[in-house]
């Protein structure tokens, strides 16, 4: 293979090139670090670049090849991790003052699995503080800029991972999705972002937000890259360290190119009429429908009668779980500790007051209220009952279709500060949240740029539990006909990152 820019190569091309000796993993790592160097000043996707770890991992990959050992499917592929994922040798801050400088003594299972597949860890990416947000603006450290228009947000909470991939700084990045935190920023940044079925990917070592909603998944510029990363995440089977993880014995690449002819796509008319859905995003759904029909898929209308209550259910369940999960941050064993306190109560309250940002405090306060005695029965318990209804809605819908096609986000990337009311921000996830409530998989697929805005538009596919392979097959079908695959945000394409 002749000299190329790293941002033009797919993950499998990089792994194949390293395996074939076309270039070394160290060369790839240096190219990736160069791209970060050249591009991240404007994007600020990263909170930390782990150059030493990247080079060491790449050297190990090259040494393995030299010794004739088999290489992993992600050999040499530059990856980034959302900063709520523990990786020994890096800081895990969750973009919070609370964890500024915190070094985890252990590595998350999802991170380890990519490393075991040969990936090169380039760094940790920015996010909304503790994943509370849809714009990455609540990061305690700095904003991240949308590579398509740096006056706009990249979405969130996994905004750093989405932006790093969109700007071509890395080939694959991991994010976590509690209510849309992978699919929404993927949509705003014009990349593929997948939230697998709850339980398919281990949550061990990923700082928890909403334990029954959180799921880790990959970003890529190609559906194939996402499939490859998914394979690495699930191939070793369920994680014995995560009680809710399950075996997902599937090869996501195997049926990627299967035709969708004769298969059924559901659309939910009610959602397409939703208030706040932009014309561009609605057009994207029409285009994707046409494309899938052109490939022989059947499009049927399905109903999700209770989906309108998903946001309400979510804003009961998620804050409650967040309050509980974040109770551990008391400044004793780790994290910010308020100096000079004479009593424990004072130290705890001030450490939490000064360590957490506004949204983190709001969510915990809401959760602490909703769980209190008397209130629990009015909100928490019924929210979990409504969850049953929403889940049942999906089950019924999937009796009529293989996947559901719907928007990923109501609108394209918004400007910094444009949405300042927290409850208004919550509407950003109106199309993604129901899937977390049900625990099903979903994927955001780029549809090129909008005619009016010039910003990335996208669609979302959702599927039944543990049928994530179908999602990738349909996503690939859309990719084939609707979006130029592997697109890097134009302002950054080719800036640094030459493979020498």
């Amino acid at each position: 293979m002749c000299a190329a820019n790293l941002d033009q190569l797919s993950a499998s091309q990089i792994a194949a090139g390293v395996a074939a000796g076309d270039f070394t993993a160290v060369e790839v790592a240096r190219a990736a670090l160069d791209a970060v160097e050249q591009r991240d000043g404007e994007v600020q996707a990263f909170l930390q670049v782990s150059a030493d770890l990247a080079i060491a991992a790449a050297e190990a990959t090259d040494a393995a090849r030299a010794a004739g050992r088999p290489l992993g499917p992600l050999a040499g592929v530059p990856v980034a991790f959302k900063d709520n994922m523990n990786l020994v040798g890096t800081r895990t801050t969750c973009a919070s003052r609370m964890l500024e400088g915190y070094e985890s003594p252990y590595t998350a299972t999802c991170v380890q699995r990519l490393l075991d597949a040969g990936a090169t860890p380039v760094g940790k990416t920015n996010m909304d503080e503790f994943a509370f947000g849809s714009s990455t603006e609540s990061s305690a450290f700095h904003p991240t800029y949308n590579p398509w228009d740096t006056t706009r947000v990249p979405g969130g909470s996994s905004g750093g991972s989405a932006a790093a991939v969109a700007a071509g700084e890395v080939t694959v990045a991991l994010g976590s999705d509690t209510g849309g935190s992978i699919r929404q920023p993927a949509s705003l940044c014009g990349v593929v972002g997948m939230k697998p079925t709850y339980g398919a990917v281990s949550r061990y070592g990923v700082v928890a937000f909403g334990s029954s909603l959180d799921q880790v998944g990959p970003f890529g510029r190609r559906v194939e890259d996402v499939a490859l990363a998914m394979n690495a995440l699930v191939a070793a089977g369920r994680d014995p360290y995560d009680s809710t993880s399950q075996d997902c014995p599937v090869d996501f690449l195997e049926h990627l190119e299967d035709p969708v002819e004769g298969r059924t796509v559901g659309v939910v008319p009610q959602l397409l009429e939703a208030e706040g859905l932009s014309r561009e995003e609605r057009t994207a759904i029409q285009q994707a429908t046409v494309a899938l029909e052109a490939q022989g898929a059947r499009v049927v209308e399905v109903e999700l009668p209770n989906i309108a209550s998903a946001i309400a259910a979510y804003y009961v369940i998620a804050p409650c779980e967040a309050f509980s999960n974040l109770a551990r941050f008391d400044g004793v064993r780790y994290g910010y500790q308020e100096p000079g306190c004479s009593t424990l109560a004072e130290q705890t309250s001030l450490s939490r007051a000064h360590g957490f940002g506004e949204e983190a405090k709001r969510r915990q306060m809401l959760g602490a209220y909703l769980l209190s005695s008397g209130v629990y029965d009015k909100y928490y318990y019924p929210a979990q009952q409504v969850r049953t209804l929403i889940t049942a809605d999906y089950v019924r819908a999937y009796e009529k279709c293989d996947v559901i096609l719907l928007p990923a986000t109501p609108r394209t990337a918004f400007r910094f500060g444009e949405i300042s009311d927290p409850t208004e921000m919550y509407a950003s996830d109106m199309f993604t949240i129901s899937n977390n409530i049900a625990g099903n998989g979903g994927i955001s697929v780029p549809m090129g740029v909008g005619a009016e805005s010039g910003l990335p538009v996208s669609v979302q596919l959702q599927g039944p539990a543990f049928k994530d392979r179908s999602l990738l097959t349909f996503a690939r079908a859309i990719e084939r006909s609707c979006s130029a695959e592997g697109v890097v945000a134009p302002a950054f394409a080719g800036k640094g990152g030459e493979l020498q």
């Binding site: 252990y106 029954s212 360290y241 995560d242 551990r328 064993r333 209190s372 629990y376």
Partner: protein, 503 residues
């Protein structure tokens, strides 16, 4: 203050217990694979899970679940097929996550019971005619319902330093050791069915014997692996409404449990009789001053924000799992006691003593193997009356001394002397007795000559005996012993003297 007996004539004490038992015999903690700590240096057995580090997740210990199911079956509980773990929140750094993982409204074990057999002096604490039927000797059976037994994790140990050492109120700082944090803990809650301190004490004893027999814990009240909180309230005899209860903490012996409850019952009676109010509060038992003092007044119920732990899959225990637990339950103390009484003719008290401690019972049964039928009773007697004084004894030694006693080769007093000498070594008691010329003769020929000589010499006493003063036999046995220079068996002398005098 009035005495307990007096108080309980006018007042009914309503007592409930909460008993926490650490599953000390397991290898690892409840939700991670850290070793359980027994006297380790602070923070030796810790990992991301039990330190509550960001991102760590719990996985339940299978053997702990098996243990609690066994505990439930052994206490006649209904094993709940479906249950979940919950999170119970309170901000205090002895819980690394600031919540304790415990169970919610449905525990693994619900609605059990234990029957207490109350006898002896303690039975008198319960006035006659108060809900139980007493036997002629005053003993009675008190049925005690168990509300639930649930699974949870223990907290870290905190040491409060500065000021008066160990006292929370004066401490300037506290040190936290997470070794104990995450230790599997089962909490048993009784219904308020107990009526006297003695019943409470017996319940704890019985529970401890049961858990020891199951092998799920070392059940040490002293070291805190078994901990008991007692709740007590008073109401006038005949009243059906419950009074305000207080909760007793720092109970680290059976005696403390009894005495703390006794004190508290008398204290509450005094308060009430003087027209005062009993406040719902937690009180601390001070054994040295023999009193309870207020620790904390509970003005409102604590709000722990309990909700199902989303990180832990629910449980749907299968029949197979429960049967597997049932099969692992060894013979329980009550059944064992009955068997000892039936098979070896032991008295109830002796049988209960041997059956109550699984180590003692196992030792007893091992010592019994290969022992002739005639020796069994003697061996049990040795187990009850001698062995507790000599902790180092081997089964062989117990068997040896029992054999000697059974064939009247040594007296009981001599047996004690022999065990004193051999308990520190593994020396055979038989060899010791022979080496020290302690073996007593039961040879009728040799002893008969001595008996005849004594009868010939002590004519006065013989006459007294024949006149009806049977007590004089003891004197004559003594004379025989003296003449035999200690090597004659007193029982043999006794028998021969009685035979000859009776003829």
């Amino acid at each position: 203050m009035k005495k307990l007996a007096e108080v309980l004539r006018d007042w009914e004490a309503v007592i409930g217990l909460e008993v926490h038992t650490e599953l000390t015999t397991l290898e690892t903690k409840m939700f991670c694979n850290c070793r359980l700590s027994h006297d380790d240096e602070p923070n030796t057995n810790v990992c991301p899970v039990c330190l509550g580090m960001p991102g760590a997740l719990p996985v339940p210990n299978k053997k702990a679940i098996e243990s609690i199911v066994m505990a439930g079956l052994a206490t006649n509980c209904e094993i709940q097929r479906h249950s979940m773990f919950y999170r119970k929140h309170y901000f205090y750094p002895d819980m690394a996550k600031n919540f304790q993982t415990t169970q919610g409204p449905v525990a693994f074990c619900m609605h059990g019971h234990l029957d207490l057999e109350v006898s002896g002096a303690g039975a008198a604490e319960r006035p006659d005619g108060t809900g139980v039927e007493k036997a002629g000797d005053g003993s009675y059976v008190a049925p005690v319902r168990i509300l639930r037994i649930h699974m949870e994790e223990d907290a870290a140990k905190m040491v409060h330093v500065g000021g008066e050492e160990g006292r929370i109120t004066a401490a300037t700082e506290s040190l936290i050791d997470y070794n104990r944090c995450g230790t599997p803990l089962i909490e048993l809650v009784t219904e308020p069915d107990l009526r006297t301190p003695e019943e409470a004490r017996l319940f704890m004893e019985k529970l401890r014997e049961t858990f020891l027999t199951l092998g799920i814990s070392d059940c040490s009240l002293e070291s805190g692996s078994m901990r008991c909180d007692g709740n007590v309230s008073l109401r006038r005899r005949g009243e059906t409404r419950l009074g305000t209860k207080t909760e007793m903490k720092n109970i680290n012996s059976f005696k403390s449990l009894h005495d703390a409850l006794e004190y508290e019952i008398c204290r509450q009676a005094e308060v009430l009789e003087e027209g005062g109010i009993v406040y719902q509060e937690t009180r601390h038992w001070e054994p040295s001053r023999r009193r309870t003092v207020v620790m904390r007044v509970k003005e409102t119920a604590d709000d722990y924000r309990l909700f199902p732990d989303p990180d832990l899959a629910p449980f749907d225990l299968t029949d197979e799992f429960i049967e597997h637990c049932r099969e692992r339950i060894p013979e329980l103390p009550d059944a064992k006691r009955e068997r000892y009484m039936a098979d070896y003719g032991l008295k109830k008290k002796d049988a209960a003593q041997l059956a109550g401690d699984p180590k003692v019972a196992a030792f007893f049964e091992e010592a019994l193997s290969g022992v002739g039928e005639k020796v069994v009773g003697t061996l049990a007697n040795v187990m009850v009356n001698l062995v507790p004084s000599f902790p180092g004894l081997t089964v062989e030694q117990v068997r040896g001394i029992s054999g000697l006693l059974a064939e009247d080769a040594v007296t009981f007093a001599q047996a004690r002397e022999v065990l004193e000498a051999v308990s520190q070594s593994s020396e055979d008691p038989v060899a010791y007795v022979d080496a020290h010329g302690m073996r007593q003769s039961t040879d009728e020929g040799a002893l008969g000559a001595i008996v005849d000589e004594v009868l010939g010499r002590c004519t006065d006493q013989v006459q007294q005996y024949r006149d009806g003063n049977k007590k004089v036999l003891g004197f004559l046995v003594g004379q025989c012993m003296k003449a035999a220079k200690g090597s004659g068996n007193p029982k043999a002398f006794n028998k021969m003297l009685a035979e000859r005098l009776g003829a």
